[in-house]
Structures are given as C-alpha cells and as structure tokens.
C-alpha cells in the first residue's frame, strides 16, 4: 500500500515535471496560452496606473549620476538611404510630420522644434534586458506639439514612425523566409540576432565607432543599402494619451547637452520615462494620432510588441 503510494507519488512528480517543462512552451505558443499570459500585463498596467496619476514623474537624478557612456541599443546606425541622406546634411532637411487624427497636420524642422518650449531631465533608462543608464535629455514635450496640432476627439494613441529598417517583409534581415511574421510571440531569428548583438556589445563597454560625435553627422556612408524592392519594416512604437501628455514625455534632441548622436536616435527620439527602453523610439520621423492600434503593424502597437513584448512596458 505504502509502496504503491510512493510509486504513485514519484510517477506523479515525474509526469508533472515533464508536462510542465515540455508543455509550457506549447502552451505559450497557442492562442489561448498567449491570452492567458497576457493577463499579467493587463494586471500590471491596471495596478500601476492605480498607484500613479497621469502627471506622476519618473525619478530625476543629479548631474553627478549621469552615466559616462550611454549604451546605445537596437538600431545604432540605420541602413536606410533616406536617413543617411538626412544625416549627411546634419538633419538640416529633417522634418517631423505630425498627422492622423489632428486638426492641423504639422511639419516641423529641428529649428522649429528647438524653438518650442523645452524640458531638460536627467532620468534613468531601463532596458528590457535588465541594464540601466542615466542620461540628460532635452527636448520638446510631446504635449506642446500635440497642443499645436490639436487632437480630434477620437484620437487615443500616438504612434511613432521611425527611420530605421529592422527587417524586410517576407524576408528577414538574414534572408529568412519571414516565417515569424504574423506570429507575434514566436521567437524570431531577427529578434534573437538583435538580442545576441545587444548582449555581445555589453562586454568591453568601449563605444562603437558610431558613438563618436564627429562621425555622427557627417559623411554619407559608402555602405548605404542598395536600392531594394522589398518592403522595409521600420521601427514603430505607440503610447496612449495617459503617457503622451505626461510632462516628462518629450521628443528629445539633446543627450547630455549635445545633439543626439546617431547611435542614440538622432535627430529625435521619444522619451517616455515611466516605461522600458524599447518604448523610447529612436529616429522618430512621424507622429501619427490614431483611434486604435489595429492598423499599425500587426496590431500590437510596436515593432517589439508585434514580436511578443508587452505594449505596457512599465515593468
């Protein structure tokens, strides 16, 4: 009797272990599984926003705590021909487009943006991978831009369209078959490549060539992409009005008192300080106000969101 029960327990534990380890991945890959795992994200957003108000600020730090090297991540040197042409002229011809559900679509040069009210903040950048850097950002509050454009009543989200291509539709960066497209949450080769790239960059800590300000805005690179008939998938991100009108939500043009380097998102990047690094879209070219995220990418609200990461990145 006892022996029988012991066997049962051992078998049960073994079965549970196998089911857990093998079954988890299958569960996470199914629609029901994804929806279940989504519950945690919804709970996090709901509870965190109970604990703060729309105007709650992220912590700001003294200048002495600024990191000597602000680690660039994700795209650090966009391969796009159009972007390189802009960079070659030090973004003199850059225009930020503000459109979508706005009363007055805007087209703003860097000089226009710098002429608007500005905000300077020393904040901590928290990467989803786990590391942090502190930097001083200066830029125009997104609220100032949106006020000038005037929101239509249906506008609920601000979508940031960026200049940097991360992959091509129907054929990934590595010439893959694009099988991961349409399957958000599935570990894609491109994402892994980027994660490995990011991890590889950590060690040594030496700034890459693109970090040196003198290299930043200058020579058009000979390595510019060849004319490509495939459809590029460029970085995109989105936030809701709760974050869009927070005073710390800025379109930053300076990092640590100098114009933003290319590796950190020149000429303009989003700072949405109460969320993780992948929300801080770099190389922002266009702010589009929308009612729903359904028509953007695959509907997740951002490049990484369409690849399994949370839209609400407050944790």
């Amino acid at each position: 009797m006892i022996l029988h029960r012991r066997n049962l327990l051992t078998a049960g534990a073994g079965l549970m272990g196998t089911a857990l380890l093998g079954g988890c991945d299958r569960f996470a890959g199914s629609d029901a599984g994804r929806q279940t795992l989504q519950v945690g994200e919804d709970a996090n957003q709901y509870v965190q926003r109970l604990l703060m108000s729309p105007t709650t600020l992220a912590r700001e730090f003294p200048a002495a705590m600024i990191s000597p090297w602000f680690k660039p991540n994700g795209t650090i040197d966009p391969p796009d021909r159009a972007y390189r042409a802009l960079a070659a002229k030090k973004f003199a011809e850059f225009k930020l487009t503000v459109d979508g559900l706005v009363q007055t679509p805007l087209s703003l040069s860097l000089a226009d943006l710098r002429a608007l009210p500005s905000r300077t903040q020393i904040t901590r950048h928290d990467c989803v991978e786990g590391w942090s850097c502190i930097g001083q950002w200066a830029g125009v509050p997104l609220a100032e831009v949106l006020k000038r454009a005037g929101l239509k009543p249906q506008a609920r989200y601000a979508v940031f369209h960026c200049a940097d291509t991360l992959e091509y539709a129907g054929g990934g960066l590595e010439g893959g078959d694009g099988a991961f497209l349409g399957r958000p949450g599935h570990p894609g080769a491109v994402r892994d490549a980027y994660i490995q790239l990011a991890a590889a960059e950590d060690w040594g800590g030496a700034p890459t060539a693109t970090d040196a300000p003198k290299d930043d805005w200058g020579q058009g690179s000979p390595a510019a992409e060849p004319e490509d008939k495939r459809t590029p998938i460029r970085y995109y991100e989105s936030i809701d009005l709760y974050d869009a009108f927070n005073p710390q939500t800025i379109l930053a043009y300076d990092l640590n008192g100098k114009p933003l380097p290319v590796s950190n998102g020149a000429p303009l990047r989003l700072r949405v300080e109460r969320q993780l690094g992948y929300k801080q879209a770099k190389y922002v070219m266009r702010v589009e106000m929308v009612e729903s995220l359904n028509g953007i990418g695959q509907g997740g609200g951002g490049y990484w969101e369409d690849r399994g990461y949370e839209w609400y990145a407050g944790i």
Binding site: G40, T56, K71, R124, V128, P187, I315
Partner: protein, 286 residues
Amino acid sequence: MAASPALQAPETVDRQGRRWFYRHPLVIRLAHWINAAVLLVLLMSGLQIFNAHPALYWGAVSTFDDPALAITSDQGRDGKSRGVVTVGTRTFDTTGVLGLSREGGTEVERAFPSWATLPADQDLATGRRWHFLFAWLLVINGAVYLTYGLFSGQLRRRLIPDGDQIRHFGASVKEHLLLRFPEGTEAKRYNVIQKLTYLVLVLGLLPAMVLAGLAMSPGMDAAWPWLTELFGGRQSARSVHFIAAGLIVLFVVVHVLLVLVSGLVNNMRGMITGWFSLGRDREGAR
C-alpha cells in the same frame, strides 16, 4: 501550551496503535503546492530574463566594464570556448553549465543552460510573460496563505518558536544537526530551527523577492520611488532579486533533503492528505 492550536487539532489512534495528527489544513496544503509550482516557473522564467543581460551591478545604473557578477564565455588558453563566471575580480570556469552549454548537440553561448530556462530557447518576451503572470499568482497565493494563517493561528503555531523552544535552542540545534527527528507529541510542532527558517522565508525572503522585483519596474519607480531607494537603486534591486532567488533555491534543496531523511512518505502524506503519523504511542498500543 494548553491554548496552543496544535493541541486542538484533530488527533486519532488507528487500530495498529499509530497516533495520527491532522497537521496541515487544506488551505495550507493547497498554498504549499501552488507555491512550489509557481516558484519553479518563476525561477526558470527568471533565469531566462537574466540571460538577456547576464551581469549584475550595484547602485542605480550598470557599470558595464565592471559588473559585480557576470556569466559569459571567452576563449581559453587552448583556444577553445569556455563558460566563465566572474564574481568581482575572480573568475571560475563553468563550461558545460554556465556561460557555455550544450543544446541539442551543439555548444551555445548562454548564461544559464536551456534546461534551466523557460522557455528553453532564448526568448526574453515569453520569459517575461511567464514571469509576470506567475508573480501575480505568487502574490495572491501568498496573500491567501498569510490571511488564513493569521486568523487561524496557524502562522503563529508554525513560525513563532514557543518559549521552551527558545530556552532549549542549543540542544535543538544539536538534535537537528544529528538528523534526529522528534516523535510523538513533540512532532506535532516544528522544531525551533524549522520555525525560524520558515519565518525568514515567509516573512523575509519571499516578500523581499517581490519588493525587489517591483523595484526594478520603471512604472513602480515613478509611483513609489522610495521602494527602489530602499534597495539602493534599480541595479542593486536586480542583484538582490537574484541573490534572494539563490537563497530560495538553497532553502528548497535543504527542505527537500530533510523531507527525504525525516520520512518521505509520512511528510508527503501530511502535505497531501493533511494526516501526519506521530508514530506508535506506547500507552495507546494494544
């Protein structure tokens, strides 16, 4: 002692003269097994998340050149890749397990090996989703356990040493180290080391784990900046989270070993059915 809930718990003697004691109420049993499963998922998804940036630092930010701990791989003197754990200035070759391990016949550079992470592949996004969903389960399960434990008197009975146990602390430690486990009435309560260990785990380690996890969240840092400050900054909180995870693993290892040596069947039966045998009672025997 007369008022102790332990003595009020149901007790019976079977026909063979064995004394049985209803040691674990249903809520405690459920909470225990849910906790065990949830902690396993949290550990494995946590190692997946750690793998995305396998280094720890102290303070607010990452000092990339100078991590407190790092799990990487490099080229050994023989030119072969090896897994390396760096703690401060000391390095350890951990090839095969940490930094460099085999996955389906090929060597891969990853901090924790695929058998230890959830998902098995490098997939931070899915690891995070598992981690945060199960963090909620941990908190809800813990809240049920604590509320029940507080109002039923179970928490006090299980975690707070009785006066005589404190007076005989030294003797109890010796008994425990010699792996001598009490029988009869004395087995109705946990010994003083058990109580203190569970106390540290339930009211120290697990809450610290949850708080250190929350302290890493930029949203929480905006809402409750004091929390991150309590740990000395976000990167410190991440390190504390990692160390606390290690201590919980250590607890589980010792816990399981002691369950094995102090009577696997009786212990498991106790935690599954609630009934724990106190052994044969001399007076009660036929």
